[in-house]
């Protein structure tokens, strides 16, 4: 064995150490199938990589908004109900942050709107909407807030690319570190 081979062996050993430390210690738990993971994975991040196939327009969404009972709680135009309002009562001349905490208007990502409708609506019938219906209702809510045009058909490819009016006009969270104050200079 020459020096060169020894060098390769040493490298392999060095690489092997962290790999060993990463192996399971207890061997408890079961490996889920790819299908199980897909079925459970309903968190739609900003890139939209988890979005299922489907498509829907604001016009379809307007019908579903009535037929699925959205209007019952949120009001016929999204502002009259007991549930949180879905459309700003103020016009575009008012600064975005002053137009109210309205998800399809203030959210930095359209994926958040899709995610929430999909996981949590309609009340007491959560999980009953098909992907097409969620795309359509998302399109309707973005349309009534003048975020997208009425004829735009949303799908898994273009939903993450929708430009939300807030842009970058919101605060990023500072990095969290253990055993450290959260806000330097705050009187605590």
């Amino acid at each position: 064995m020459g020096w060169r081979n020894l060098g390769i062996l040493t490298c392999a050993w060095l690489v092997g150490v962290p790999a060993l430390a990463q192996s399971p210690t207890y061997g408890v738990g079961r490996t889920p199938t790819a299908e199980e993971i897909r079925a459970w994975d309903i968190s739609i991040g900003p890139t939209g990589e988890e979005l299922p196939p489907g498509r829907g327009s604001a016009k379809e969404g307007a019908q579903l908004y009535r037929s699925k009972g959205c209007a019952g709680c949120h009001g016929p135009t999204g502002i009259e109900g007991n549930a949180p309002i879905l459309k700003s009562k103020a016009g575009k001349d008012v600064e975005l942050w002053a137009r109210g905490r309205i998800l399809p208007l203030r959210s930095p990502f359209a994926t958040t709107v899709w995610d929430y409708i999909n996981r949590a609506m309609p009340l007491n019938r959560e999980g009953s909407l098909t992907p097409d219906e969620v795309y359509a209702i998302t399109a309707f809510l973005l349309y009534i807030n003048e975020v997208i045009p009425e004829d735009m058909v949303l799908d898994a490819q273009n939903l993450p690319k929708v430009k939300m009016p807030i842009g970058n006009n919101y605060a990023n969270l500072p990095e969290w570190k253990p055993r450290a104050p959260r806000l330097k200079g705050y009187p605590y």
Partner: protein, 414 residues
């Protein structure tokens, strides 16, 4: 004078109920005669199976924020802990505060069917049954949970109204770091999403550094299974973070490489970076629970002033008391060894001279953070400190209790 008598009787009654012990009532026995027996509680099936508290102890939770709960829409269900009656640091599970936006409906989860899946940026995704989780090495720790909406106002009358959305319990479970190491974190892992199994599948993004530091996958609470209102069969404990992050009915943890902006995260969206920085980790906070708003001191003399202190930054190091509206501060006694991110009970021996005054407490945590006054906070935000002032972000300001010369205790903010 006459008007004070009912108040004094009221105080003695509630005092005796609290102590759970002797009363001054009853017929005096003759010298040397054994005292008469008290009436008996019949030992029925329930007393054998799962004990109850005395019928004389009537302390209960109340709807938070002055609104009916469940509200008119049948959804908001925020109930506050009766801190004014609390002793020690553990909140009984039945009195632990609850905050949910889906009303009185509690998911009825069969623990045999429940699964926790961990996936995303890991080498080996894994699914755990409750049985699996209970096989793994466990920790048992005291931790408080506090709702971000736990803030004092001028309208509030009692400490239950000003501070009742915090509670402290002993939690048992597996460290999340143990499970994540079992799955093997990939190098790009920087955030994780925790999600519940309830109807809205509530989900929040949290830094992976917190997961590896001290998060607990908790199945035990105060010596028994986690209660349904607290996330049975398993909840995530995120010590020192706002209550909403302590995901109930935990069914999934997804390891990701960015902030995921789920609906709960959207709720944390702020315009001001300084307000955003106050999110997540709760600051040092304390409050006197006795004497507190709505209680009545029967007269001048000795009282053990008592209260609770906690911080999302770690353990409580020091609590100070002022009995003269903040002019002088003296160290309170800490009961037991303060635990990290847990309620710590403090006390102070006070002789009340019968004159009007204000009682305050302020705490310091292991990071050296000192609980601020509202005036200090107003100055920091460059806002006028008047009746309209409301603390931006999480409110950890000092709570004053006003003692009237008639022994009445009222909210010093009013």
């Amino acid at each position: 004078m006459g008007s004070k008598r009912p108040a004094r009787r009221e105080f003695l009654r509630s005092g005796a109920a609290l102590a759970g012990g002797f009363t001054l009532g009853g017929t005096a026995p003759a010298l040397g005669q054994a005292p008469a027996s008290p009436p008996m509680i019949r030992g029925d099936k329930n007393q054998i199976a799962y004990g109850e508290r005395s019928k004389y102890v009537t302390s209960v939770r109340i709807p938070h924020g002055g609104r009916p709960s469940p509200d008119a829409f049948g959804l908001v269900f925020h109930v506050a802990t009766p801190l004014q009656d609390s002793v020690g640091v553990i909140t009984p599970s039945s009195l632990h505060y609850v905050a949910t936006t889906r009303g009185a409906f509690i998911p009825d989860i069969d623990p045999r069917e429940h699964r926790l899946m961990i996936h995303g940026l890991v080498d080996r995704p894994l699914t755990f049954t409750m049985e699996d989780l209970k096989r793994l090495p466990s920790v048992t720790r005291l931790h408080f949970i506090e709702c971000a909406g736990n803030r004092a106002s001028r309208r509030a009358k009692t400490v239950q109204e000003t501070h009742g959305m915090t509670s402290c319990a002993e939690w048992t479970g597996v460290l999340l770091s143990v499970l994540l190491k079992e799955c093997g974190l990939k190098g790009s892992a920087s955030w994780f999403v925790a999600e519940g199994a309830e109807e809205v599948k509530g989900a929040s993004s949290m830094p992976i550094a917190k997961a590896m530091d001290d998060c607990i996958i908790a199945y035990g609470m105060n010596g028994e299974a986690v209660r349904p209102q607290q996330g049975f069969p398993v909840r995530l404990m995120v010590p020192g973070f706002e209550g909403i992050f302590h995901t109930k009915y935990l069914r999934r943890i997804k390891v990701v490489d960015r902030y995921y902006m789920n609906y709960n995260d959207y709720g944390h969206l702020d315009q001001d970076a300084k307000v955003a920085a106050l999110d997540y980790q709760i600051g040092p906070k304390s409050v006197i629970t006795f004497p507190s708003g709505g209680q009545q001191l029967p007269g001048r003399g000795f009282y053990e002033v008592s209260g609770l202190a906690w911080s999302g930054g770690g353990a409580i190091k020091k609590v100070e008391i002022s009995t003269d509206a903040g002019k002088h501060w003296l160290n309170a006694e800490l009961k037991g060894t303060p635990q990290r991110m847990a309620h710590t009970r403090f006390s102070y021996q006070w002789n009340w001279d019968g004159k009007e005054t204000e009682l305050l407490s302020r705490c310091t945590d292991e990071l050296g953070q000192v609980q601020p006054t509202r005036a200090q906070i107003a100055k920091y935000w460059n806002k006028p400190f008047d009746e309209t002032f409301s603390v931006p972000g999480l409110d950890n300001s000092i709570q004053p209790w006003r003692i009237g010369n008639d022994g009445s205790v009222t909210n010093g903010l009013a």
